[in-house]
């Protein structure tokens, strides 16, 4: 079954593995919570990369944490989606000149979607995820 059809099924029930270690976590909580409720779209947070289809990497990543994140990405069953949350994953954000944080996430992990913002509001996160849904619908 080629990837497009697989993605169509995957989009209907996206299980999210959250790799937050900074501001991103405080923004994903309301998305899981009652007001923005991502479960409406069949998305639930899961605890192990084996169950996950979408890896959300929020906030800056240090040299040490990016190695773990790479290993987590490799341990996820494919097809999987990676979302870089916040300007820290795009350009290092306010840590642009720090000796310890990585500057661009896609040098280390193939990223499918960047959501800008420091940190991005829940509406921005949902809008980003909706764009993945729309893109998969158009392709299939």
């Amino acid at each position: 079954m080629e990837d497009a059809k697989k993605l169509k099924r995957l989009v209907k029930s996206v299980w999210v593995f959250n790799w937050f270690n900074s501001c991103g976590f405080t923004e994903i909580l309301p998305v899981v919570g009652s007001r923005w409720d991502m479960e409406r779209f069949g998305m639930i947070p899961v605890a192990s990369p084996r169950h996950a289809d979408c890896l959300i990497i929020a906030g800056y990543q240090t040299e040490k944490s990016i190695r773990r994140a790479q290993r987590i990405y490799r341990q996820m069953p494919k097809p999987a989606v990676v979302i870089g949350l916040g300007s820290c994953s795009m350009s290092g954000g306010m840590y642009w000149d720090s000796y310890n944080t990585i500057k661009r996430l896609s040098d280390y992990i193939p990223v499918d979607l960047y959501i800008p913002g420091c940190p991005p509001r829940p509406e921005a996160i949902l809008k980003g995820i909706m764009s993945i849904f729309r893109e998969v619908e158009d392709h299939a």
């Binding site: 192990s48 084996r50 773990r68 290993r71 490799r74 341990q75």
Partner: protein, 105 residues
């Protein structure tokens, strides 16, 4: 057909049904994707991104029991204090209780 006075069970029918159900479940299972593409450390155990230094040993299994049932082990250990005449008292007590029940009912 095995039947004790109170209940009955026929293993043959049970096995036939289980065989049929396993055919159904195998159909469901075959709908799914069987294997996976091997990658660098994709098939290693998930340990929050770290590497598992100590392999999973069977002897760690009992940790769960002692940890969860700690209070009951402690209570029982206190009972088995090794003093023989305590054991004898327990034995005598139990025998009287059993005889009492047998005589009463």
């Amino acid at each position: 057909m095995i039947s004790t006075g109170m209940g009955s069970w026929s293993p043959l029918v049970f096995l036939i049904c289980v065989a049929f159900i396993s055919v159904v479940v195998q159909i469901i299972r075959s709908l799914g994707e069987g294997g996976f593409r091997k990658e660098e450390d994709k098939a290693e155990a998930f340990f929050s991104g770290g590497r598992l230094l100590i392999k999973n040993r069977v002897m760690d299994v009992y940790w769960g029991f002692f940890d969860a049932m700690g209070r009951y082990y402690g209570w029982m250990k206190r009972m088995h204090n090794g003093i023989v005449n305590d054991y004898v008292y327990w034995f005598v007590l139990l025998v009287t209780v059993v005889i009492g029940v047998v005589i009463l009912l």
